[in-house]
Amino acid sequence: MGILAEFSGPESLKAVAAELRQAGYARFEAYSPYPVHGLYEATGRRRTLLPWLVMLGGTAGCLAAILLQWWTNAVDYPYIISGKPPFSLPANVPIAFELLILFGALAAFGGVMVLCNLPEPYHPLFGCAEFRRASADAFFLSIDAADPLFDLKGTADLLRALGAASAEPYSRPQTERRVPGYVKATIALLLAAALAPPAYIAQVRFSRKSSPRLHLVLDMDFQPKYLPQQHSPLFADGRAMRPPVAGTIAAGAAIDDAHLLRGETGGQPAELFPMPVTMELMERGRREYDIFCATCHGLTGDGDGATSQVVVLEREEPKWIRPLSLHLPTVRSQPAGQLYQTIADGVRTMPSYASQIPVEDRWAIILYIRALQRSREGTLNDVPEELRKQLESIHDDATSYDDQN
């Protein structure tokens, strides 16, 4: 609360402001419908800090722009443009300039808001009907009751003596209009609803999901094209996938050899190989086995390949199912055709290798597996005469090596 006095014009307002200051009043304020030069100075207050704020803002904007361009284009993701160095200042000037202006302007606007204590939705003066003319054509001066020299009668008399046309007390209205509860509830509800999207984003960001991520913009996820096995009204048979034209065959589709392609003879797994067994095929089998099979089944077929070693020794996965040893009696007794079907179609946890290993190579691998299996039953007598000596010397070396350790 306080006293509001009306004066005739800017000059008298300036004079009164100076008088009040002389008299020792501190908490008074002059109001005019347009900026009156000299009035603020007459109230004896310090010049505003705003220019410094704007300078700070502008400097911050310029530095931020340089830093941003340096970090993004020269350090984090260096762009080479026309052979220029990644950080080339002249090309960074436009952005630095614009951000200098932007931050400076934001500082000017934000500064005037903060320094003027705006927005200020309520002020006791808004309750005075006369004060509404202050923004059109009237000149007012108010003295706050909190001023140490304030005295309801004395101050009003002083103002009248200084030429005030009127000097009336003003105060906060006794009955205040409160914001209704439903308005508050609605605002609270809207604020809570506004939290939902960031909460969802955070939940997605920090949790694992097996379903595909939420895709707001579908881009090319859905294309107007036929996928395999789809229906198409364009053809009489309703199939989008077209059978070959009558009288033609697709490349690679000509051979229908149950033994070679499916490892069958007479509906049963084949015992024999569909091709001549040669040393060349054996070598090829060894090479392919070492590439595709050895990682799990081991180089000697004991089921102790590198994958198995890593999983058992390092990860200690309790659920790991060891690859089968190829030397188990159940595997040894399998006919060649069954081994072929295992490679081609997969079995238990072993997937099909049909897409990686061509048909001939699968038979070559089976031949090599047969050799590995046979090697476990062999005796020295099976070794050709001229190689026995060599084998014995290797054995001796190995034994002496073991003894030394």
Binding site: Y34, P35, V54, T72, N73, I95, I101, L118, Y122, F126
Partner: protein, 463 residues
């Protein structure tokens, strides 16, 4: 004093300052004149008619944008080699229009041109609406508009950053800075006037809405002191900004290597052209607005006369730039450059070139004559022609240069489609819709500023 009538502000006398407000020149009269437009119960039928047409065009604008987004960029006439075509012509045109607002509000403020107070508010409004229209075009023209946020530097899963050395990115930063600063400048200047409207409001709704945007302004000495500093500082920031914005827009062209674009004259040439077209748009809008809303006492013939002089001055700068382009094309000795200039004047788009020369260089010469500068109808027609000419200038620069580059094998022609035309017309609809809403609901003239330029002896007679 003198034998001249008090309200004659067109006669120059050294001993007397020309009045900027005619008729009753006190605070109450100014407040009444400006607020009456906003407070009138019955909206003028002309306003409704204009608003209906503008709103329909705005609807067409957004409908064609929707069609463009859902169908694809192929609905526009853009082709190989004219990849930029009309959307960029419209973009540069609208950005240029905006420049006069900042010139009047910031540059003339720094030069202490007191007559600016009558027209600065709606010139600034014009700036903001023009920038809004301009911003739409590059955004919808990128094709996949939903990925337009890729322009912003934000950490992303692609581990990529925008290339800050591309003029196209400078453009994004310059235009968004310009839009923001113009809006702040406009709004800050309007706060005291919104407080006036709040204090005069009769109904609770008006009082609350104007009160909300007036932010509790009371016009205390301390508030005015900071307000004036902020206004001065914003003007000081906006002045180099306005010069930079169209320079940056011109970099989109000048930094490329296309003959007709690759030229150092482009930045000053673009800035002059922008202010030229903007001043013409101010006159185009001011002439009907002052008649329709009874603002002839605040936007006087002296204001329009000054604007027309600005149009004449900037027209000469633009004409000089055209001449220098031709001179450099010959003096520089680059055969491609020479061909590009010849092609503009004599090639397939020669009609656009000569329309541009006629509207931008020849027609404004009429403003040398005082009779033309104070003739309402003539000045309006000239201003509209300047707008046409400035649109043609951008069309010549963009389409004619792209259609005829280095290799004849890659030459082509550009033809607009119906959607192109609908988007251009529709952008005018958006512009006028926003402008009409502004005229009806916001103070069209900066009342507090006009009060400071009233004759001192009359200003304070009000009470």
């Amino acid at each position: 004093m003198s034998t001249i009538h008090l309200d004659d502000n067109m006669t120059q006398l050294p001993a007397r300052r020309a009045r900027l407000v005619l008729g009753k020149a006190d605070c109450a009269a100014v407040t009444e004149t400006v607020c009456a437009i906003v407070e009138q119960k019955r909206t003028p039928p002309a306003w409704y008619a204009a608003f209906a047409v503008s709103l329909a065009a705005t609807g067409m604008f957004f409908a064609s944008i929707g069609y463009l987004i859902f169908t694809g960029i192929g609905v526009l006439g853009n082709n190989n080699p004219a990849f930029w075509a009309w959307p960029i012509v419209n973009f540069v045109f609208w950005i240029g229009i905006g420049h006069a607002g900042t010139l009047i509000s910031a540059i003339l403020f720094l030069f202490r041109q007191r007559w600016r107070t009558g027209i600065n508010r709606f010139a600034e409004a014009m700036t903001i609406f023009a920038v809004a229209c301009a911003g739409v075009f590059p955004a919808v023209h990128v094709g996949r508009i939903w990925l337009v946020y890729w322009l912003a530097p934000y950490p992303n899963q692609m581990d990529l950053w925008p290339n800050f050395r591309s003029p196209l990115l400078w453009d994004v930063v310059a235009i968004s800075t310009y839009g923001t600063v113009s809006l702040l400048f406009w709004y800050l200047g309007m706060i005291p006037d919104l407080a006036t409207l709040r204090d005069r409001a009769k109904s609770w709704w008006r009082r609350s809405l104007y009160g909300l945007f007036a932010l509790g302004w009371r016009g205390s000495a301390g508030q005015w002191h900071r307000f004036e500093w902020a206004y001065l500082l914003l003007a000081a920031l906006a002045t180099p900004l306005v010069l930079s914005v169209h320079s940056v827009v011109s970099f989109d062209f000048a930094v490329s290597q296309l003959p007709g674009w690759h030229s150092t004259i482009l930045p000053p040439y673009f800035v002059a052209g922008a202010i030229f077209s903007g001043c013409a748009m101010v006159v185009t809008l001011a002439v009907p607005a002052r008649g329709l809303f009874g603002l002839k006492s605040l936007i006087t013939m002296r204001h329009l006369d000054n604007m027309n002089k600005l149009i004449l001055a900037t027209s000469m700068m633009v004409g000089y730039s055209y001449a220098i382009e031709i001179f450099i094309a010959w003096y520089g000795g680059n055969p491609y450059e020479a061909f590009a200039q010849l092609n503009r004047a004599l090639g397939p788009y020669a009609w656009a070139y000569w329309l541009m020369i006629a509207c931008n260089v020849l027609v404004p010469q009429l403003f040398w004559f005082r009779k033309c500068r104070v003739n309402i109808w003539l000045m309006w027609i000239i201003a509209v022609l300047v707008n046409v000419g400035m649109w043609m200038e951008r069309f010549v620069i963009i389409a004619a240069s792209l259609a005829r580059d280095f290799l004849p094998s890659s030459w082509g022609m550009y033809k607009p489609t119906a959607v192109d035309v609908m988007m251009l017309v529709g952008s005018f609809g958006l512009f006028f819709t926003l402008f009409l809403l502004f005229c009806r609901f916001l103070p069209m003239v900066a009342m507090a500023e006009v009060k400071t330029v009233l004759p001192r002896d009359e200003r304070e007679k009000s009470d």
